[in-house]
Structure formats: structure tokens, C-alpha cells
């Protein structure tokens, strides 16, 4: 018996040692190293760096461009948030009696798997100011006077980019909502229908409670995603003009790899991590509780 326990321990040890080592070395350790670096003025290549206390934290809070970037993240967050009810409606539609539902389901999710860089360039073309397709569509609808510099006007560029983000990621939420809706046992729905529940009542009393966990997850996914928007502005506008379409992550990456200020960039990275963890905890403790309780009624 003892030798079996020994064999078991060896099996566990031998199997886990590499994956756990990789995780610690390349994911967990870097996260802690960011915290350490956030108190230094390391430039990315010198062998040495000085400990500068809270210096980076003070300059981070005084950095107007960074605040502007964070405001841009908020645009993505709000636009995606407004889309959630529509995504849910699409999910309800696609699980309902519908011809060609399978085809529509594949279509709705397709943008999510398409190469993000390729689609970013496709949208650069779509919104381009010279012979752009979007302007041509507006002309076709006799709305030509609405034409704008979609990607270079600081007032609208973030909304255009957020639209691209919607185009790419909404289908993911629709599929998740559909999975939640389909996990609902058929007999419950049948019973409700036999008892004379109409579609709206079905939705309110049967479907909504079933998807509350998913709403919870999608909210968190939305916040986390909005905080980390990077490749869409990186490829389409590079954060420009100026910092008009920069995002928190884009600005952080630029601070490190373009301006060689790894210390300050680490501070910003720590800020992103802190925001994600805080939001996770708050949501788990507060919103989670409310949402699930609301669903139980």
C-alpha cells in the first residue's frame, strides 16, 4: 500500500512539475515582477535601475494622455454594454423556431474567428476618407452630407473603433447566451407553455433566471475586454491622431517599448491588474449576489 502511495506521489510530481513551472516562470512571476519594476526607473536595457519609490505612481496619476486613454476605454465599455440586450435578443431569436437558424448561428460567430489584423485593415479600407465604402453607402442612402473623417476626427474615432470591436466580439456573447438558453430543460418550458405562459412571460420568468449566471460572466468579460482593448486601435489608428484613440493598454505598451520607460509602464500595468482584480472581487461579492437573488424570484 505504501509503495502505491509513493508511486502516486511520483506520478503527480513528475506530471505537474513542467506545467506548473512554466506557469510560474512566464505568467505568475512576471506579474510580481511588474510590481517590483513599478517602483524603479528601469529603461528596458540598462543592467541597473534605481528605486524611486512612488515616483511612477505620482507621474501616472498626473499623466493627462493616460487619463484620456482611460476615457477612450470607457467608450468601448459603454458601447458594448448597450449591445448586451441586443445580443441577448439575438440569442433568443436564434434558439426560437427559425428557418436557417444554423446558418445564422455560424454567421453571427464568424467575425470572432477571423484574423483580427486582417479585419482591422479591412475596416481601415471601409472607413477610408478617399473612395471609402462607408461614405459610398451613405451617398447611396442620400446621406452623403453625413460623411466624416471617420478615423481622423478625434470626436468620433473612438466610436468608429468601438463599432469595429462590436462587429468582432458581439457574436461571442450571442453564442454564450444561446448556450445558456439551451441548457434550460425542455420539460420546464413545455410545462410553462401548457400552463398558458405567453412568450414574454416565458422570457421573464423562465429564460431570464436561467441566463443570470451568463449575464454575470458577460459583464465581467465586457469590463475586462474594454480595459484591455489594444489591437484594434493599434492596427487601425496607432492610437492617433495624437492620443485621441489611444487606450490604457496601448499607452502602457507604448510607454515601455517606444519610450523605453519600463518603470512607468509597469506602474500602469499594475494599475490595470489592480482594476481587473478589484472589479472581479466587487462583482463577485456585490453584483453577483444581487443578480442571482433577482433571478431566484
Amino acid at each position: 500500500m505504501n509503495s502505491l502511495a509513493k508511486k502516486r506521489r511520483r506520478f503527480i510530481l513528475v506530471s505537474l512539475i513542467i506545467p506548473v513551472f512554466l506557469l510560474v516562470a512566464f505568467v505568475v512571476f512576471p506579474a510580481f515582477d511588474l510590481i517590483r519594476m513599478s517602483f524603479t526607473n528601469w529603461d528596458g536595457y540598462s543592467p541597473e535601475s534605481d528605486f524611486i519609490g512612488l515616483g511612477n505612481y505620482i507621474s501616472m496619476f498626473q499623466n493627462a494622455d493616460l487619463w484620456q486613454s482611460l476615457k477612450n476605454n470607457a467608450v468601448y465599455f459603454v458601447v458594448h454594454l448597450c449591445m448586451i440586450p441586443i445580443e441577448l435578443a439575438f440569442a433568443v431569436l436564434l434558439v426560437s423556431k427559425l428557418r436557417a437558424a444554423k446558418f445564422y448561428k455560424s454567421m453571427v460567430f464568424m467575425p470572432y474567428i477571423i484574423n483580427g489584423v486582417a479585419i482591422a485593415y479591412a475596416f481601415s479600407y471601409f472607413f477610408s476618407p478617399i473612395n471609402g465604402a462607408f461614405d459610398a453607402i451613405l451617398d447611396l442612402l442620400h446621406l452623403g452630407m453625413l460623411s466624416q473623417n471617420w478615423l481622423s476626427d478625434p470626436k468620433i474615432v473612438n466610436f468608429v473603433l468601438a463599432f469595429v470591436s462590436l462587429w468582432r466580439f458581439s457574436g461571442y456573447h450571442v453564442i454564450l447566451f444561446m448556450a445558456a438558453l439551451q441548457s434550460l430543460p425542455q420539460d420546464v418550458q413545455e410545462a410553462a407553455r401548457v400552463d398558458g405562459a405567453n412568450s414574454w412571460q416565458m422570457f421573464k420568468y423562465i429564460q431570464i433566471p436561467a441566463i443570470m449566471l451568463m449575464v454575470d460572466f458577460i459583464l465581467f468579460d465586457n469590463i475586462r475586454g474594454a480595459l484591455q482593448v489594444f489591437d484594434i486601435p493599434f492596427v487601425i489608428t496607432g492610437g492617433g491622431p495624437g492620443y485621441a484613440s489611444s487606450t490604457f493598454t496601448l499607452y502602457t505598451i507604448k510607454t515601455a517599448f517606444t519610450f523605453s520607460n519600463f518603470g512607468l509602464a509597469s506602474t500602469m500595468a499594475v494599475a490595470i491588474m489592480a482594476m481587473i482584480v478589484i472589479i472581479y472581487v466587487v462583482q463577485n461579492k456585490i453584483i453577483h449576489g444581487i443578480v442571482l437573488k433577482g433571478g431566484d424570484k
Binding site: 512576471p30 489584423v117 479600407y125 454564450l176 460572466f217 492596427v235 491588474m273
Partner: protein, 277 residues
């Protein structure tokens, strides 16, 4: 009855609208890729050029670029190696976490969970130093190591799948004289095949589409991937939308094909990866 038909019609109209929104940017890029430089100006961006003037020169331009093949080769190598190790580590880790009790198990599970909360792009600021220190900068080792170490989604898919396998299976195999490695390799691993199919396909799409890690760690020309090939190509085509459009279409193709053929696995995995608690 009439009401039902009307309802179905409204639903269809909404869905067709969605399909148009999804396809339009792709379709218009495809149109542009068939146009000559002159037709980019002369024909509406919403239309194909007249049939007689359709050109394949733009595609020729992309396909004869020697770095396309380089990008294809590098992407294939990164894919094969990372997915191999990912599946190996993913299955065995999930198996042990699901089936065994041992000291520090809680710590290890917590570590894997914390890994999911750590933000993606900004971690590179600290990781860059490590990769550099290992001498992996400008080598295929950098993305491979990062993909193997950091993508944790598969763990949830495997754990969920393993929890549906009966424990009695393990017990009888052990009674029959199988050792633990044999149990895993000969019994559990083959049973995980459906989950592995999902993991491999989703992973492949993620890796083919990833931009930032190859961009950051492999600036060398000979180390381009499909995605960084497109970025370089785009920079060289300043203003020549028709050739860039052909490049876009070619780079989009692999994942679209994967999606068309393996959609079932992808959709199953996406939902399983999300609902993890």
C-alpha cells in the same frame, strides 16, 4: 396562422440584416482585391468592376511575395509545437486536478486561476526581460514558450470533460495492473479525444490570429508569421488598397476554412470555456 408567417418574416429580415452587416466589410474587401488601380477610382467601392476588367494581379502580387511562404512555414511550426505541448500538459494537469487529492493542490489550482486574471498584453513588459535573458528574442522559441505556458482556457475544457468520465474506470485499470502513467496514456487520454479536437482547433485559430507576440518578439524578416506578414505587407503598400485587399483575403482564408469545417467543435468549446465555475 397569418400571424405566425408574419412573425417568421420579421425574424428572417432581422437575421438577413445581421448577415449583411457581418459580410459587408469582407465582401467589399474582396471586390477591391479584384480591381485594377484605375478601377479603384472609377467604380464604386460597393460594386465589382465590369467582368472584363476583373484582375488577379493583386493576388499574384501577394502570392509571389517570398515572405508569404516564410510566414506560412513559421506559423505552421509554431502551431504544431505549441499545440503538441499544450495538449500534453493540458490533459495531464486537468486529469490530476480532477482525480487526485494531494498537498498544495489548492495552491496550484489558485495559481492557474490567477493566471486567467493576469492581463494579456501588458504582462509582456515583464516577460520581455525573461525571454531576452533566455536568449529567445528573435527566435521561434519565444512565441512557442509563451503559448504553451500562458493559455489556460484548455484546462477548463479538459476538467469539465474528465469530470464526466466514471471514476470506476480508473479503479479497474489500476486493479488490472496498469500504473498511473499507463492509466493516463492508454485509457484517459484516448477518451479525451473529442475535447482535444476542440482544444486543438480553438488554439490553432488563436495562434494563427495572434498579432502582438510575434510582432514584439520576432521582428526579424525570416521569422514572420502569417499575421505579421500582413502587417509588413500593409506597411509596404501605402495607399494601394487593391493589393492590400488581396493580402487581407489571403490571410483571412485559413481560419475561415477551419471554421467552415470544424464549426461544431469551436462552438462547443467556446461555451465550455466560459462557464467554468
Amino acid at each position: 396562422m397569418k400571424k405566425r408567417i408574419l412573425l417568421q418574416a420579421v425574424k428572417q429580415i432581422i437575421c438577413i440584416g445581421m448577415v449583411i452587416v457581418v459580410l459587408l466589410p469582407i465582401l467589399l474587401t474582396l471586390f477591391a482585391s479584384f480591381k485594377t488601380k484605375a478601377d479603384m477610382v472609377n467604380t464604386s467601392p460597393l460594386l465589382l468592376p465590369p467582368l472584363s476588367r476583373i484582375t488577379f494581379e493583386n493576388f499574384e502580387d501577394v502570392l509571389t511575395d517570398k515572405y508569404l511562404l516564410v510566414g506560412f512555414k513559421n506559423t505552421a511550426i509554431i502551431l504544431a509545437v505549441s499545440i503538441f505541448f499544450n495538449v500534453m500538459f493540458g490533459t495531464i494537469t486537468a486529469f490530476i486536478i480532477e482525480r487526485f487529492e494531494f498537498r498544495f493542490k489548492k495552491v496550484i489550482v489558485a495559481l492557474f486561476f490567477a493566471g486567467m486574471l493576469i492581463p494579456t498584453f501588458v504582462t509582456e513588459i515583464a516577460r520581455f526581460k525573461i525571454i531576452n535573458g533566455l536568449g529567445l528574442y528573435n527566435s521561434l522559441g519565444a512565441p512557442i514558450l509563451i503559448y504553451v505556458a500562458s493559455d489556460l482556457m484548455q484546462l477548463y475544457i479538459y476538467r469539465q470533460f474528465i469530470s464526466t468520465l466514471p471514476v470506476s474506470l480508473d479503479e479497474s485499470a489500476l486493479l488490472d495492473g496498469c500504473d498511473y502513467f499507463g492509466l493516463f496514456a492508454r485509457i484517459i487520454f484516448p477518451l479525451l479525444a473529442p475535447a482535444t479536437a476542440t482544444v486543438v482547433i480553438i488554439k490553432a485559430i488563436n495562434i494563427i490570429n495572434d498579432m502582438y507576440i510575434p510582432y514584439l518578439y520576432m521582428p526579424k524578416n525570416s521569422l514572420r508569421t502569417l499575421t505579421t506578414f500582413l502587417m509588413n505587407y500593409a506597411n509596404a503598400q501605402q495607399g494601394s488598397w487593391q493589393t492590400l485587399a488581396a493580402g487581407i483575403m489571403i490571410i483571412m482564408l485559413p481560419t475561415i476554412l477551419i471554421y467552415i469545417f470544424f464549426q461544431r467543435y469551436i462552438l462547443a468549446g467556446v461555451a465550455a470555456g466560459a462557464v467554468k465555475e
